[in-house]
Symmetry: C3
Subunit: 151 residues, 3 copies
C-alpha cells in the first residue's frame, strides 16, 4: 500500500469504520433485488411482457402484488436514506470528528438501516419507525456537522 | 487535523464549496421523508397495513393521494438527480478545475436542486423545468469534464 | 495539479479507470430523464396538472403509459444498482486491489449497466437479466473485498 493511502485512510480509525459500514450497507441494499425477483417468480407478478413469457405461467403483466410491493417500498426507502447517508458519511469523516463519538454515530446509522429493512419486511411497527428515525437523525447530524465545518 | 487532510481537502476552496453544497443538498433531500409522513397522517393515506392500524382513522391502505404522490415524485426526482450530481461532483473536484469557475458551477447545481423542490411542491412551471435543466446541465458538464480528464 | 492529488489519484491507474467509468455511468443515467420527457410529450402522459396545461393537448393527468413506465422502471433499476456500485467502487479502489484485475472488474460493472439499459428499453431477455447479474455480481464482489479489507 502506498504511504499516502496508508496515512490518509488505512491508519484512520473513523474512515475504516465508515468503509466497513458502507460495505455492509451496500451488501444489504443488494439483497433487495433478488428478494423482489424471488417473490415475483413465486407470485407470478411481472411488470414486463418479456418476463411474463420467459418466467411465468401467467399470461399477462401484473402489478400491485402486496408482498412484491412491500419489498419494493423497503428498497425505495433504502435509496432515499442509505445513499444520502453514505454520501454525507464520507464528508463527515473528512471533518475529522472526535473518533470515539464518530465511530458510534456511523455504526448507529448503518445498524438502523439494517434493522429498518428487517422491520419493514416483517411489518413490525413501531420498530420500523424508530429505526427510520435513527437513520435520519444520523444523516441530519452529519449534514449539520459538514455544513458547519466547511461553511 | 492531520497535515495531509489539511492540504488535500481543507485548503482546497473547490472541495470546501463542494462539501458545503453536498451537506445542504443531503439536508434538503432529508426533509422530503417527514413531509411525506405529515401528508400521509393529514390525509389518512398509508401504504402499509400496520401503519393504518397505528396511525390512521381509516380502515384500509390507500394509494394515489395527490398531495402525497406529488411529494413522492419530487423525492424520486431528487434521487434521480441529486445523487448522481453529488457523486460526479466529487470526481469533478479531483480534476482540479479552475477554482473561480468550479465553485460557481457547483453552487449552481445545488441551488437548482433546492429551487426544483420548491417549484415542484408548488406546481410552478416553467420554473421547475428550468431548475431541472440547470441541475441536469451541471451534472452533464461535470461528467464530460471527468471523462475528458481521466480518459 | 498539486503533488498530493497527482500521487493519490492521477498516477493511480485503478482510480483513473474508476473515475472514467463513473463519468460514463452518470452520463448514461442522465439520459433517462429526457427520454422519459420525450415519451411523455409524444404520448401526452403527464403526472402533474401544471404539465398537462403547459405541454399537452390532453385535458387531464395520465398514468400507466407502457413506454413511459418502461423507461421509468429502467431508470429506477439504475438508481438501485448504479448508485451503490459507484459508492462501493470508490472504497474498493482505496483497498488498493491488484491493478490488472481491478480495472477489468470496474469496467465489467460499468459495461453491464450500459448494456442493461439498452436491453431493458428493447425488452431483450435474457440479456437484461445477464447484464443485471454481472452488475450485481461486481457490486457484491467489491462489497465483500471492502468488508474484508476494513474489518
Amino acid at each position: 500500500m502506498s504511504k499516502l493511502f496508508q496515512e490518509l485512510f488505512n491508519d484512520n480509525e473513523v474512515f475504516r469504520v465508515y468503509a466497513l459500514c458502507t460495505g455492509i450497507t451496500v451488501g444489504k441494499i443488494l439483497i433487495m433485488s433478488p428478494l423482489t425477483s424471488i417473490l415475483r417468480l413465486k407470485n407470478g407478478t411481472f411488470a414486463n411482457e418479456e418476463d411474463v413469457k420467459k418466467f411465468s405461467k401467467a399470461d399477462k403483466v401484473k402489478f400491485g402484488d402486496e408482498s412484491v410491493e412491500r419489498v419494493r417500498r423497503a428498497h425505495r426507502n433504502d435509496l432515499e436514506n442509505c445513499l444520502p447517508l453514505m454520501t454525507i458519511g464520507f464528508l463527515y469523516v473528512l471533518t475529522e470528528p472526535e473518533p470515539s463519538l464518530a465511530v458510534n454515530v456511523i455504526r448507529a446509522g448503518a445498524a438502523a438501516r439494517v434493522i429498518h429493512t428487517i422491520a419493514y419486511l416483517n411489518g413490525w411497527q413501531p420498530l420500523r419507525f424508530l429505526s427510520f428515525l435513527v437513520g435520519g437523525g444520523v444523516t441530519a447530524y452529519m449534514s449539520f456537522k459538514v455544513i458547519m465545518f466547511f461553511k
